[in-house]
C-alpha cells in the first residue's frame, strides 16, 4: 500500500499528528507549570518554562516523593514477578497439554477476566484482616498472584509462539517438565513476557482504590496516594504541586518510551486476539 501522496493519507497524517499533540500536551503543561513560582503562575498562560524548577523540586522532595517512588517500585516489581510465575504455569498447561478439566480451567480463567477486582474488595479486606495482613504490602500483592488476563495472554502466546515439536524432542531427550518450561518455553516467549510484565507493572503502579483502603501510613504511600495527597500537602503552592506531579509521572513515561519497541512487538506478535 504505497500511495504516499494520496490526499486522504495526508489528511490522516495531519489528524494523527494533532491527536498525538493532544495526547502529549497535558504532560508538557504540568512540566512547564512545575517550573513556575506560584505567584507568577496566575498571571497568564504558562507555556514557556520558567526558572523556578529547582526550588519546586526541593519542595517536592521534602514531602517524601522518593519514598513513595521506592514503595511503588517495590510493589510493582513484586506484582510482576508473582503474576508471571503463576500465569506462566497455567498458561503452559493450557497451551501445551491435553488433560481432563482443561476446558473447566480455561473457562475459569475467562470468567476471572470478567470479574472486576474492586467488587470483591470488602470481602478481600476482611480476609486480609483475618490473615493479619492489614496495613502490609502483602494486602496489595495478594490480588496480583492470580491475574486471569495474564494467564490468558500467556496461554495464547505459548500456543502460537512455541512449536510443539521442540517440546516433544526435549521430552525424548529426558528433560523434565519444569526444565522444559524454563529452558525452552520461556525463552521462546520473551516478547510476550516483556509485554505482560509492562502491563502488570502499569496496572499495579496506577491502582488507587485498594491502596487507598489498605494503606494508611503516609510513609507507606504509593505514587497515586501521594499524588492524591499533593493538594492537601501544598494547598496553595501550585507550582510545587505541579512539579511533584511532573516528577511522579515523567520518569515512568521516559522508561516506557525507551522500552516501547519491545512492548509493541510483544503485542503485535499476535497474542491478543481476544
Amino acid at each position: 500500500m504505497k500511495r504516499s501522496n494520496h490526499p486522504g493519507q495526508v489528511l490522516a497524517y495531519i489528524l494523527l499528528g494533532l491527536i498525538s499533540i493532544l495526547s502529549v500536551f497535558p504532560f508538557y503543561m504540568i512540566f512547564s507549570m512545575g517550573t513556575y513560582k506560584t505567584a507568577d503562575l496566575m498571571r497568564g498562560l504558562p507555556l514557556i518554562p520558567s526558572n523556578y524548577f529547582v526550588e519546586n523540586v526541593k519542595t517536592a522532595l521534602s514531602h517524601n516523593l522518593l519514598g513513595s517512588y521506592a514503595n511503588s517500585i517495590m510493589i510493582s516489581a513484586a506484582a510482576v514477578v508473582l503474576a508471571l510465575i503463576t500465569s506462566c504455569g497455567i498458561g503452559y498447561a493450557l497451551a501445551k497439554f491435553r488433560f481432563l478439566g482443561k476446558k473447566l480451567f480455561y473457562t475459569l480463567v475467562l470468567i476471572g477476566m470478567m470479574l472486576p477486582t474492586q467488587i470483591s474488595v470488602i470481602g478481600y479486606m476482611i480476609e486480609m484482616r483475618t490473615m493479619k495482613l492489614t496495613g502490609t504490602y502483602m494486602s496489595l500483592l495478594c490480588t496480583w498472584i492470580a491475574h486471569p488476563f495474564s494467564a490468558f495472554f500467556m496461554a495464547q502466546f505459548m500456543k502460537t509462539g512455541v512449536p510443539s515439536e521442540m517440546l516433544e524432542s526435549a521430552r525424548i531427550d529426558g528433560c523434565s517438565e519444569p526444565g522444559i518450561l524454563i529452558r525452552i518455553v520461556l525463552p521462546c516467549i520473551l516478547p510476550g513476557l516483556a509485554t505482560m510484565a509492562t502491563l502488570i507493572w502499569l496496572w499495579s503502579w496506577n491502582s488507587y482504590l485498594l491502596p487507598l483502603i489498605a494503606i494508611n501510613k503516609p510513609a507507606m504511600y504509593t505514587i497515586p496516594l501521594m499524588v492524591a495527597n499533593l493538594a492537601a500537602a501544598y494547598s496553595t503552592d501550585y507550582g510545587a504541586q505541579m512539579c511533584s506531579l511532573a516528577l511522579a509521572t515523567l520518569p515512568i513515561l521516559i522508561l516506557f518510551i525507551c522500552g516501547s519497541k519491545v512492548f509493541i512487538r510483544g503485542l503485535t506478535a499476535g497474542a491478543i486476539k481476544g
Binding site: L108, G123, E177, S260, G274
Partner: protein, 314 residues
C-alpha cells in the same frame, strides 16, 4: 485426580500430573483472593454490619430492597455509571479502531504515533484527574484562558460546576487516557490480518473504506469483543478520575459526586458507604453485588452474542 487419556480406545493410562501441578498455584490463589472474597461479600450483603463490631445483624434482602426503593443516590450513581458506559465505551472503540486503521496504512512514523498516544494510558489516573481539574479550572485553567483569548468565550465558564460540562470532562478524561491503548491493541490485531487479502481486494478495485468494512473490521472482531468487555468493566469501575477531579486543584467545589452528584459513580458511592461516611459494610456489599451481577450479565451477553461461532479450541 483420575483421568482417562484421551485416545481412540480410551485406554486407562497413568495420568500426567504436570498440567495440574502447573495450574495449581494460579487456581489456588484465584480461589483464595478472587472467588472467596466475592462469595464473602455476597454473604455480608445480607447483614447490617459496620465492619468492626462483633455483632452482625442478619437482615436478609433488606439491603437490596433499600437500595432499589429507598436510596435515590444509589440509583443516581447507577444511572451515571450506565450513562458513562453507554457513551464512553463506543467512543473509545471507534476512536481506537479509526486511529489504528489510519496508522495501519502507513509504516513511516507508526511507532512514534503509537508511543506518543500510549503515554496517557501509562499515567496514573489520579494524576489525570488533577491535570484535568487544573485545565478546566474556572479562574486559572488553560481551557478558559485559550477560549477567552481567542474570543470564543466572552467570560470564563465554570466547567466543573455545571452538570453536563462536568460529565463531559469525565468522558474526555477516559477518552484521552484510553484511545491510544485501544489503538495499539487494534493495530496489533490488524497487522495480523494477511496482507495479501487487503492487496487482492485493492487490485479488485476496493477503496480503503471498503477494505476497512469488508476485511479489516470482520477480522478484528475478537479484539472488538475483548476490548468491549474489558472497557465495559473498566468503565463501570470509574472512580479515580472523577474523585480527583473534585478533590485536587479546584478545592472550591470539593464535594462528593460533583455538581448535584452528576459524576457520582457506583464505585464512588460504594467507597463512600463502606469506608468513608458510615462504614456500612453490609450495605456497600449489596451495592457491589448489584454491580457485579450487572457486569456479569453484560459481559456474558456481549461474549455470547459475538462468539456464537466460537473459534477457540481450548
Amino acid at each position: 485426580m483420575v483421568s482417562y487419556a484421551i485416545g481412540k480406545k480410551r485406554t486407562l493410562r497413568k495420568v500426567n500430573p504436570w498440567p495440574y501441578i502447573f495450574s495449581a498455584p494460579f487456581l489456588i490463589a484465584f480461589f483464595m483472593f478472587s472467588v472467596y472474597p466475592i462469595l464473602f461479600s455476597f454473604q455480608l450483603s445480607a447483614y447490617n454490619w459496620n465492619g468492626i463490631s462483633p455483632v452482625r445483624k442478619y437482615v436478609g434482602l433488606k439491603n437490596y430492597i433499600r437500595l432499589f426503593t429507598g436510596d435515590t443516590l444509589f440509583m443516581k450513581a447507577l444511572g451515571n455509571s450506565a450513562l458513562f458506559v453507554v457513551i464512553i465505551v463506543p467512543l473509545q472503540l471507534v476512536a481506537g479502531v479509526v486511529m489504528a486503521y489510519a496508522l495501519f496504512r502507513f509504516e513511516k512514523g507508526r511507532r512514534l504515533f503509537q508511543t506518543m498516544n500510549f503515554l496517557p494510558y501509562i499515567t496514573t489516573p489520579v494524576a489525570i484527574g488533577v491535570i484535568f481539574a487544573y485545565m478546566f479550572d474556572w479562574n486559572s485553567g488553560i481551557v478558559n484562558g485559550v477560549l477567552t483569548h481567542l474570543g470564543i468565550l466572552k467570560e470564563n465558564y465554570a466547567w466543573l460546576h455545571e452538570v453536563w460540562s462536568a460529565r463531559m470532562i469525565v468522558i474526555l478524561m477516559c477518552l484521552w487516557r484510553c484511545a491510544g491503548y485501544y489503538m495499539t491493541i487494534y493495530l496489533s490485531a490488524m497487522l495480523a490480518v494477511p496482507q495479501e487479502q487487503c492487496e487482492a481486494a485493492e487490485i479488485d478495485g476496493a477503496n480503503s473504506r471498503q477494505v476497512f468494512f469488508r476485511i479489516i473490521l470482520p477480522s478484528v472482531r475478537n479484539t472488538t469483543v475483548f476490548l468491549m468487555i474489558t472497557g465495559l468493566i473498566g468503565c463501570f469501575q470509574l472512580f479515580d478520575e472523577p474523585v480527583q477531579l473534585y478533590s485536587g486543584w479546584s478545592a472550591g467545589v470539593s464535594n462528593v459526586g460533583g455538581p448535584s452528584y452528576s459524576v457520582y459513580t457506583v464505585i464512588w458511592k460504594f467507597y463512600t458507604d463502606a469506608y468513608k461516611a458510615n462504614n456500612a459494610i453490609g450495605y456497600a456489599s449489596a451495592e457491589a453485588m448489584i454491580l457485579f451481577v450487572l457486569i456479569a450479565i453484560l459481559s456474558l451477553i456481549s461474549f455470547f452474542v459475538s462468539n456464537r461461532k466460537g473459534d477457540e479450541d481450548a
